[in-house]
Amino acid sequence: METIGPKDAELVAAALATTRHTVEPAVGCPREAFGQLYDRHARKVRAVVAGVSGDWSAVEDMTQESFLRAYRNLGRLREPQKFGSWVVGIARQVGRERRRSLRRDRHVFHDPRSTVVADSTDGEAAVHQRDEWQRVIERLAELPAEERMAVHLHFFAQRNAQEAAELVGLSRSGFYALLQRAVARLTSLVASRETRVKTRR
């Protein structure tokens, strides 16, 4: 897919620049250049950290951590044009660390609702709706990692199937097949949990 605006390599060079005049005007200051890299790649980083870690509640924190690490190590990036795949690699590592940390601390109660944006002014219906999302998101964590990743990529990466497929190492049709399987399984998981809840009641 053709990138609109400055290429990643230009943005990386700009973010590394120590003085303003070494940067192309279109790119902006170093900080802004890094901001543009964030705009371009944050969605897929969110998808990757959510998919790898299975921890929806910490998606934004993990995304921040991934970009911070990328920034700190920007000078070591040998191929600036590959910033996207590089930051995704960092995101995978951040996601794995989170997953391990959750396993170590699994006795700690964690309420995923506590960190998701939740204005309570929008009435009972909206709260109920958000509760439903949460139930879906909780079941999502039970999917196999690659299926979970496919769902997040589809909904975060703005349905850019080509990019999503590349991130999971599949063809476009292979990615769609994985996505369909994931949604079908998730539907079944949500239904079975609802049935279980009703039975208990």
Binding site: Y38, L68, R72, G75, R76, V136, Q180, V190
Partner: protein
């Protein structure tokens, strides 16, 4: 047209079926429409949940940019303290995955990276180590675990020694890929004290695992005389208790050198020793004091020995060692052969639908004949189950010639292949489970039996009503808590 499958409905709900006949079917089928509504509701909820997080993009961007304001300006030539991430950054993904499979080689890179991360050391030493390890074409080492149990009820303590010889080699000399053949004969000997206090060795485990590069592997159990084939071994799925995983996982930990031990003769060589702090490294969750001892050959920059003790509150005392590390040695091809011994039972779990259906049909028939129960046997024996089925169906006493003409008898005989399949799979009780002692046909949501999925290292489970599905390890543990400790894939 038949009703749509769940996946076809998902396709429609995701908007991927435009112009396909699927959507047309849904429009004319009330049942499918009702199911589609549920799936569509779910995809809407997913979209909304993701959109909500996306809405924080601008605020998160500001937070990030504020945070990097506090960071030093990144420098093209910045060389901060050596860490694994930077070391591996120069490798492509395949090499990184393969590095995990190499295990000891990886561990060497990591451990030595960490060892020499001490800022007082010169950079050139690190470069030499990396070069040395990258040029490794083969290695072998011995992993041992000596567990000493505290005396119980006046009986002398039991000592168990597990030993594993690990062999690894690159597919060809000079191969830049770090993929390699892996073989690991594992023995566990228990030293039980007799009445006189003398300890006699008793072999408890005698298995060999072989994983040729990119090909199916094999596990052979010489004590119980069975084997099973496994999918090619990806590094990320190494059992957490294996020495390879333990070494590989050092890579992911935030280890640091906390003490130098000076030089000492180790295995006949002069070696330099270090204590690593492994706090947070998953492979060493119980390392006493979070410390691992490592000895390095200063002449080759390669490790010679590792040692750590597990902290179990004093009972049992478990000491792990990796010794006899040999690098760039000639390893015989026979080590990596995957030929099962003659006469051993093939307990590989079935993958073909037809074979699985045979098992399900056999159990369903048994349940029909026994009021919903499944065969309860400590050791699943096909012929014993057949006898029970015949008795339940009224075929008592010596075999009669006219039985063969009766439909029920024919059905029971037809169930034999399925029962044999199940009997073979259940030989390997460590990778399968069967709970007919507590699960009947009425317990439709309880796990009746399970085995590992051969494709993606999950688990195939069969419920009391003989439905089946593939689930990840954590879910299996949730559904059947007795699997905790047995299940490896996906559970830390």
């Amino acid at each position: 047209m038949e009703h749509l499958t769940d996946e076809q409905l998902a396709r429609v709900a995701l908007g991927l079926a435009e112009g396909e006949p699927l959507a047309g079917h849904v429009a004319g089928c009330a049942a499918c429409q009702a199911r589609l509504d549920k799936v569509s509701r779910l995809t809407d909820q997913l979209a909304a949940a993701h959109a909500e997080v996306d809405q924080t993009h601008t605020a998160s961007r500001e937070r990030l940019l504020a945070a990097i304001q506090q960071e030093p300006q990144p420098n093209r030539r910045a060389e901060t303290a050596f860490r694994l991430a930077s070391l591996l950054g120069g490798l492509n993904m395949r090499q990184r995955i393969a590095l995990g499979g190499v295990g000891l080689s990886t561990a060497a890179v990591i451990v030595l990276t960490l060892v020499f991360a001490n800022p007082v050391r010169e950079l050139s030493a690190m470069e030499r180590i990396v070069k040395a390890v990258r040029e490794v074409t083969s290695c072998s080492f011995t992993w041992s675990n000596r567990i000493t149990f505290a005396p119980r009820e006046g009986k002398p303590r039991v000592i168990r020694v597990q030993t594993c010889n690990v062999y690894w080699r690159a597919p060809s000399p000079g191969n830049e890929q770090w993929l390699g053949d892996l073989a690991a004969p594992i023995k566990c000997v228990q030293l039980d004290p007799d009445a006189a206090g003398l300890r006699k060795p008793r072999l408890r485990t005698d298995i060999t695992e072989v994983y040729p590069t990119g090909k199916p592997g094999i596990l052979i159990n010489f004590l119980d005389k069975y084997y099973f084939w496994t999918p090619p071994l990806p590094a990320s799925e190494l059992p957490r208790v294996s020495p390879m995983a333990m070494l590989t996982a050092v890579r992911d930990g935030s280890c640091e050198v906390i003490r130098e031990l000076g030089t000492r003769q180790i295995e006949g060589r002069e070696a330099r020793g270090y204590i690593l702090n492994v706090k947070g490294a998953p492979a060493f969750p119980k390392a006493k004091g979070n410390e691992v001892e490592v000895w390095v050959d200063p002449a080759t920059d390669l490790p010679i020995q590792f040692r750590f003790e597990e902290d179990n509150g004093g009972d049992p005392i478990a000491v792990f060692r990796i010794t006899d590390c040999r690098w760039n040695i000639k390893l015989d091809d026979s080590l990596f052969k995957t030929m099962p011994p003659d006469g051993f039972v093939n307990s590989t779990w079935p993958t073909k639908r037809a074979k699985i259906d045979e098992i399900v049909s056999a159990l369903r028939l048994y349940a029909e004949l026994s009021g919903g129960k499944y065969p309860k046997l400590l050791k699943f024996d096909r012929d014993a189950v057949r006898r029970q089925m015949l008795e339940n169906a009224g075929f008592n006493g010596p075999p009669q010639a006219d039985w063969a003409k009766k439909k029920k008898f024919q059905q029971i005989e037809g169930a034999m292949p399925g029962l044999q399949q199940l009997a073979d799979v259940l030989v390997d009780i460590w990778h399968t489970g069967y709970y007919a002692d507590k699960v009947t046909a009425q317990d439709k949501d309880n796990v009746l039996f399970w085995w590992p999925d051969s494709v993606d290292r999950k688990y195939v489970v069969f419920y009391g009503d003989l439905r089946s599905e593939v689930i990840p390890g954590p879910k299996l543990v949730e559904l059947e808590p007795s699997t905790e400790g047995l299940v490896v894939y996906g559970v830390d």
